[in-house]
Subunit: 411 residues, 2 copies
């Protein structure tokens, strides 16, 4: 008998029909003898409907009251799901964040979970009940309703799984797993059976938006095996866990992530001395502009140049700031390019294999794609290229690393 | 400085525009220096929308989960109202039934309030905050969400007013007060400035559906002055309180109530002996059929007849039962009539004035209206007549008691 926490997102519970389908799936899992805790999101569209009502009144709605408002969305879903389970003869009970309780701090709209008391849920599970919990919400020490921010239902599920020491946390969504890369770009992109937390984090932060980064971090920290599955079709999904694939032949690369949301800024001819990077980047981040890739080089004349990327929407503000900084530092020039794309290969396998970078650069070179920037981490190599080559680059890398074929026999 | 509990029903908060109007009204009351606790219903239509979702899944939805579902309606309103108050610079905070807390028993869908802890609200009022409370809901001793049943927001408001020892409980609705009778029937029906709890109870149970009977009983029990006002226009409304009108000239009659929802059943020729009324009416009420007017008479031959009224929807079931009872008792006959109407005159004044009944019967006689049944209480006389004469009867009584004119100068 396994204790499984399941989470169903907004699309999975987006209508009465979808809720019925979820109930049928839960009923099967329950009959199989599992102990089930089910975390639900608001029905798709509901959160936006509620935000719309608030926005019609004020564009500066109080965060406490916004949380009171939004938390009703999951409460509706959990009640409807229990009603659908009862119809199938399954004993089920619903709890709001407060009823569990899921204790959080008081940061309305982005509260952090501090403690979960699992005793009420454990007592229900012992009575063979399915427990349905509202995702995304909690209660602060003064009994105020809080929300964890958008996507917080994933976090609720992982935190509950950790607290209850669950065997697995299953995240049901509208895709059937994590893929080697976006199937819309590469036809033969392959669903991964397994991936490590680290790899998933690198994939997620690069734009594979299946799971909230925070919930993956949390799952990794508490070693909660996480499985991404489709609520629309049957299938094993992708298991995200601590262990590296321990088969003989490790795949070099697990996935290719990419995005076109960023723009590149370069400041050239600045003095190569301590504190310069801080002067350049500090001013940018003080303006609350997020910086992603950063590369610094020193030229022959000992002047330095720094290149970094920001979200395209922040480009004009960042460029204005950088022009000012250039004047202050006596820099040579500033330039920017918004027609760039970022491509990363991710895999824990590259730790123990030399030559991964070489294969990557060769593949890009064979296609005549110029590499503008390179950065690396232990399990990731990222390049910035002209955005018009993005699809070509992803496809050629997918082929170069033979990712369409699962070279590793899975148990 | 007065402590006032205000309650706004579903129509009064039925749209963002209506919520804004309510916020503007509250802001005026707040600026006038009153301490305000505001109880809100779900936006009109919302409760039915939620019930519809549940009904799409099951027509036997679990009552606990139904309460979880429905309680979100008021929670949405209270958050939106607070956001609208903040926009007007008013400090306001919202609480669910659980957050107040309003402790109830565990009778889901029709819970009774057991205790209200007003300390959290009092602390907010002391900080000059407006406190907005979700009507219709509470929490049971095991931290389950309960609802008080439809119309329960009135009960919430009165219970809060009693608990906080408020100076007045104001019920905002879509009518501007309690009238001598239905203005749709009598053109010159007059808004009453004052009415006693007893009179209001007699009016309400007769179909003047402005206030829930339960909330009037509750207000009377704890002597909470209750005021019915319109949320759509300014005006003093009607004050419902313990004191009888203490002016020199008391009005004989405060109002005329009526309904056409009932049907009449008669069983004739039953033995006039102890226990017969119980045998007849016990069987009807065991079938959960509500009985209203009951009249028993003894005929010359010492056989008795009993006449009573039931809701028209229960008529055929009641008649079938009564036929069976007639056989058991050896009764002469059973007959029924669904074309009846009930008309009542209500007024604490009739306690100290003889001749009220005479005026009533004379007025009906002058119009040639036959009286089928008469019952009386201390402050009410009810007659049953043919339904086709209903409007005529109400208008002639309104005129006979000179009710269009407020003969009593109000202070």
């Amino acid at each position: 008998m396994s204790l499984i926490v399941q989470k169903y997102g907004g699309t999975s519970v987006g209508s009465v029909e979808r809720i019925e389908a979820v109930a049928a799936r839960i009923a099967r899992g329950h009959i199989d003898g599992n102990q089930l805790v089910v975390v639900v999101s608001a029905m798709s569209g509901e959160t936006n409907r509620l935000l719309g009502l608030a926005a019609d009144i004020s564009d500066q709605a109080d965060l406490r009251e916004k949380d009171v408002l939004l938390s009703t969305g999951e409460q509706v879903t959990m009640a409807l799901l229990c009603i659908a389970l009862h119809k199938r003869g399954i004993s089920a009970v619903s709890y709001t964040g407060r009823q569990v309780p899921i204790l959080t701090d008081s940061s309305y709209s982005k509260a952090r979970i501090q403690e979960i008391d699992g005793s009420r849920i454990r007592a229900d599970l012992a009575c063979k009940k399915v427990v349905v919990v509202a995702g995304f919400q909690g209660v602060d020490p003064d009994d105020n309703i809080t929300t964890l921010g958008r996507g917080g239902s994933d976090t609720t599920a992982v935190a509950l799984a950790a607290s209850l020491n669950a065997d697995e946390c299953q995240i049901y969504t509208d895709v059937d797993g994590v893929y080697t890369t976006d199937p819309r770009v590469v036809n033969d992109a392959r669903r991964l059976d397994k991936i490590t937390f680290e790899e998933m984090l690198e994939m997620a932060s690069q734009g594979s938006k299946i799971l909230q980064i925070r919930s993956v971090e949390f799952a990794g920290k508490y070693n909660v095996p996480l499985r991404v599955l489709s609520s629309f079709e049957e299938g094993p999904g992708t298991l995200i866990s601590l262990e590296e694939n321990d088969n003989m032949e490790k795949p070099l690369i697990s996935g290719i992530a990419f995005n076109k949301d960023e723009a590149k800024l370069t400041i050239r001819g600045i003095p190569d001395q301590p504190g310069v990077a801080y002067k350049v980047l500090g001013a940018i981040s003080e303006a609350n502009i997020e910086i992603d890739v950063i590369v610094q080089n020193v030229a022959k004349d000992n002047s330095a140049s720094i290149t970094f990327t920001v979200n395209k929407t922040d480009l004009s503000e960042a460029e204005t700031l950088l022009q000012q900084i250039a004047v202050d530092l006596g820099a040579l020039e500033v330039d920017s390019d918004k027609h760039i794309a970022k491509v990363s290969i991710v895999g824990v396998g590259m730790r123990s294999h030399a030559g991964v970078a070489a294969i990557m650069f060769e593949a890009l070179s064979n296609e005549g794609i110029n590499i503008q920037l390179i950065t690396t981490s232990e399990i990731k190599i990222t390049v910035v290229i002209d955005e018009k080559y993005l699809e070509l680059a992803v496809r050629s890398l997918h082929a170069a690393f033979n990712m369409a074929v699962d070279t590793v026999p899975l148990e």
